[in-house]
């Protein structure tokens, strides 16, 4: 029995890494998935993967930091599917810079993509969720939100911001049966950590993780399906840490 039959999901940053894995997983469970990515080509590739597996998907270029782009993303989703049930706020960036050397433009870009992008995508689907009387919002944070990030203060701030935002929104939307939760991966085997760490550093980190390995994108899929499904109807405002035990909260 598929758990997300008849549901429509939007996954941002779904062209690669964790977003791609979650999009494929939601599709496997029967959801129609909107593959949104700033890189249209990667979004198309994931769409074709889902279609080849017999799933239903739609791909679109979307820049989460741009209000018009996101309004258009949701409009086109509604045009294509007539509804939307699940939003996965996954798109994010992690450039590095010390606070001392951080330009305002760098700061704005990280907060604008990770935090304001989450706000914009969420705000764009909420009217539909309210009309339907149901909906699931799942946003991705990071262990850096809890522990900080040397040379990534903007990133850590944006990811902690997502948690505070989600708890507040959970309170606003709970009376309407809409849940808002956060998934917190640890270091994951994608391109992102390789932007600022060598393979040796990543390997050394894996040795310090209690379960003895870094995360795979697939590790986030089960938790995302769970939170999107009826099984998690009474869970809201929470952050689920999926990190092999590296941070316990």
């Amino acid at each position: 029995m598929k758990r997300l039959e008849q549901r429509i999901a939007i996954v941002t940053g779904a062209g690669q890494g964790i977003g791609r894995a979650i999009a494929l997983g939601l599709a496997r469970e029967g959801a129609g998935v909107v593959i949104a990515d700033v890189n249209e080509e990667s979004a198309n590739t994931v769409r074709k993967e889902i279609e080849a597996a017999g799933g239903k998907a739609f791909s679109i270029r979307a820049d989460v930091s741009n209000e018009n782009s996101i309004e258009a993303m949701v409009d086109k989703t509604l045009e294509a599917f007539r509804r939307v049930d699940i939003l996965v706020n996954n798109a994010g960036i992690f450039p590095t810079s010390s606070v001392e050397e951080m330009s305002e433009a760098d700061w704005d870009r990280v907060i604008g993509t990770n935090l304001i992008g989450t706000f914009l995508c969420t705000r764009a689907v909420v009217p539909t969720f309210l009309k339907q009387g149901s909906g699931r919002i799942i946003s991705l944070t990071s262990g850096r939100a809890f522990q900080g990030a040397k040379n990534g203060a903007h990133y850590a701030a944006s990811k902690a911001g997502i948690i505070g935002f989600s708890k507040s929104l959970a309170l606003e939307l709970a009376p309407h049966g809409i849940t808002v939760n956060v998934i917190c991966p640890g270091i994951t085997d994608t391109a992102q950590p390789r932007g600022h760490q060598t393979e040796e550093q990543i390997y050394a980190q894996a040795q310090r993780i209690p379960l003895g390995r870094i995360g795979q994108p697939e590790d986030l899929v089960g938790p995302a399906i769970f939170l999107a499904s009826d099984a998690a109807a009474f869970i809201t405002g929470q952050t689920i840490l999926v990190n092999g035990g590296s941070i316990m909260w």
Binding site: A174, L211, G212, P223, A231, G237, Q238
Partner: protein, 247 residues
């Protein structure tokens, strides 16, 4: 018996029944442990009527030898325990601290915290040797927020969180996971009998999602933690509370 085995303590209670039913549906052969013999037998009967493999054992978790003997008996039958769910517990005594007798206070700690410890200890070595196993303990909203009159219960439930994290660290190198769930107001017969229907509805309205938890809500979260879908989750606390408490 089934390919995989789960033990649920407090398995005959209001939440317990929903949990054992859910895990049985997921393919676990069930061992239902409870202090209440009659409710336990009824629970097992219910599972068998649905064609699930289930056995009941009466146990008082405060007594180390009783717990050890029981788990030995179960291991002798099954050779393996794949999932241990420690649900047994309860407020038991509610008094202002100046009126709380030491023996009452210790009973609450023993039933909630020591019972959890003893059951975990009974399975951890075989789980580590087999390099697989899942432990799920039960905390409570009160373990985070505290509760007037429940100094012992809140202390025990907070302690279960730290205990579970420590156990998770010890067990992780062997591929064994330990997590906890925390819930709040839950619609079980035992809790509801203390309130009128109107009172109960009013209490539900205090919760952001506007209702108390259904035992099934808790059972689904436990089923998630007992499945491979949570393979990379350990040492965590999952709240099932309709938005009542965040950490």
């Amino acid at each position: 018996m089934a390919d995989k085995i789960a033990i649920v303590t407090g398995g005959a209670g209001g939440i317990g029944r929903a949990v054992v039913t859910r895990l049985a549906r997921a393919g676990f052969g069930m061992f239902v442990l409870d202090k209440n013999e009659r409710a336990g037998q009824e629970t097992v009967e219910l599972l068998r009527q649905q064609n699930h493999a289930a056995e009941f054992f009466r146990v008082d978790l405060q007594y180390k030898t009783e717990v050890q003997d029981l788990f030995e008996t179960i291991y002798a039958k099954t050779k393996r325990i794949d999932a241990l769910v420690n649900l047994a517990g309860g407020t038991l005594h509610k008094h202002p601290i100046q009126d709380f007798s030491l023996s009452d206070w210790c009973e609450v700690i023993d039933v909630n915290l020591k019972g959890t410890f003893l059951c975990c200890q009974a399975v951890i070595k075989p789980m580590k040797m087999r390099k697989e196993g899942i432990i799920i303990n039960t905390s409570s909203n009160f373990g985070i927020t505290g509760s007037a009159g429940r100094t012992a219960y809140a202390a025990a439930k907070a302690a279960i969180i730290a205990f579970t994290k420590s156990l998770a660290l010890e067990a992780a190198p062997f591929g064994v996971r330990a997590n906890a769930i925390a819930s709040g107001l839950t619609a079980t017969a035992r809790v509801m009998t203390g309130h009128t229907e109107t009172e109960w509805r009013e209490m539900g309205k205090q919760i952001p999602m506007g209702r108390s938890a259904d035992p099934k809500d808790i059972a689904e979260a436990i089923n998630f933690l007992a499945s491979d879908e949570s393979a990379y989750i350990t040492g965590q606390l999952i709240h099932v509370n309709g938005g009542m408490v965040f950490t």
